[in-house]
Symmetry: C2
Subunit: 203 residues, 2 copies
DNA sequence: AGATTTACATACAGACATGTATGTAAATCT
DNA sequence: AGATTTACATACATGTCTGTATGTAAATCT
């Protein structure tokens, strides 16, 4: 086989990752054979094994290609609670508009078995959760300091609740194809969740 | 092979289901071969195929054997919000004390790919979610009527938020092996979540 | 310009899983 | 008591996947 240019090789690698994501989301990670991915990408398994050690490695690349769904740093306007809400809204928006993100998260949350080589990936996900906790805890802390949230709000605990909410929301949103469970009302759901933490006037 | 008594056959079936659950939770559903399950149960694949049509069928049996984690009907004491909290606390208690339930839910939430024959199972899960929504909506409705929750609480929306919280909590609790993310504070988390809906005295 | 890599394709070897077909002795039915 | 199922075990036929080893022509290095 004729050797490809570095740039061409990079393109090949990218095609493989893209196709892997699609096939994973159709057939599930475990059921996917590298042969299928290769064919879809117009190469042979040789190319796949050249660029990736094995399926787990390829899966990592799929995750990296999509990157993180939610980065609070992107939101610097508004008070802490507004930034929290914007962040979560943006994450869900991305799932709605970015097919790649949609597929990747569908694979991660519904079409992957976190066992064996993939058990480590689950730890990664939990690390991401820890990061989320840190950031949201800080946001809540700020909200309390700025009197936007009640003084008796425990930032760390509230952050954990928000993490659960967010994790469940993602998972249910992805599965809610006909929109009856959560999809139709995501915006309000997120808004409500955050509003619940905001300091209320006396009722 | 000598034919077994009806009762013996039922025991065999039960052993197969039990072993399937264990193997599934160790190796993931897709990676599990029926041969492995059979061996673990002290039978051959013949027995497995006699009792179950295929792996998906066996998986259904695993789910049925464990049954539902949360049934609000079991809680008839206290006001609506107390019943909601008791229900969720009981569900998590069950995961803590009932190894079978633990394994089954670990399989369902982390070690199963909902694809092909299993896509239907995901719909089942969403149906369970709908049931949860119905029940919790009713609870919140009652809470509003009884002035335990603020009048402007939208029961249906609040129920959806609780569903997300609960779904995420289950998933994270199962993955949180070292307890730092949510496991250590589940009780407070659930208490806090429900307390957040309770009508507050003016601050 | 020649030597060396690179980026794959091809070929090979082995394991393993699935579903079904068939056999069989004892339990259950009549 | 004999006929019929039942509850499996065994055997078969087939397909599929993985990882590695090897080949190769062109890109890149020196």
């Amino acid at each position: 086989m004729a050797r490809k240019t570095k740039a061409e090789a990079a393109l090949t690698r990218d095609r493989i990752v893209t196709c892997a994501r699609q096939v994973f989301s159709r057939e599930g990670v475990t059921n996917t054979s590298l042969e299928t991915v290769a064919k879809e990408a117009g190469v042979t398994r040789g190319a796949v094994y050249w660029h990736f050690r094995d399926k787990a490695d390829l899966f990592m690349a799929v995750r990296q290609q999509t990157g993180t769904l939610l980065r609070f740093d992107d939101f610097r306007t508004g008070d802490a609670l507004e930034r929290l809400e914007s962040g979560m809204q943006a994450a869900l928006d991305r799932l709605r508009t970015d097919r790649q993100a949609l597929e990747t998260y569908e694979v991660m949350l519904w079409k992957c078995e976190y066992v064996g080589a993939f058990a480590g990936v689950r730890k990664d996900l939990m690390s991401a959760s820890s990061l989320f906790l840190t950031e949201v805890t800080e946001l809540y802390d700020e909200a309390v300091r700025m009197k936007q949230a009640p003084a008796n709000l425990d930032p760390a605990l509230a952050a954990r609740e928000t993490l659960c909410f967010y994790a469940g929301l993602l998972k249910l949103w992805l599965a809610d194809e006909n929109g009856v469970t959560v999809r139709a009302e995501v915006r309000q759901l997120i808004a409500r969740h955050v509003a619940g933490r905001r300091l209320q006037k006396a009722v």
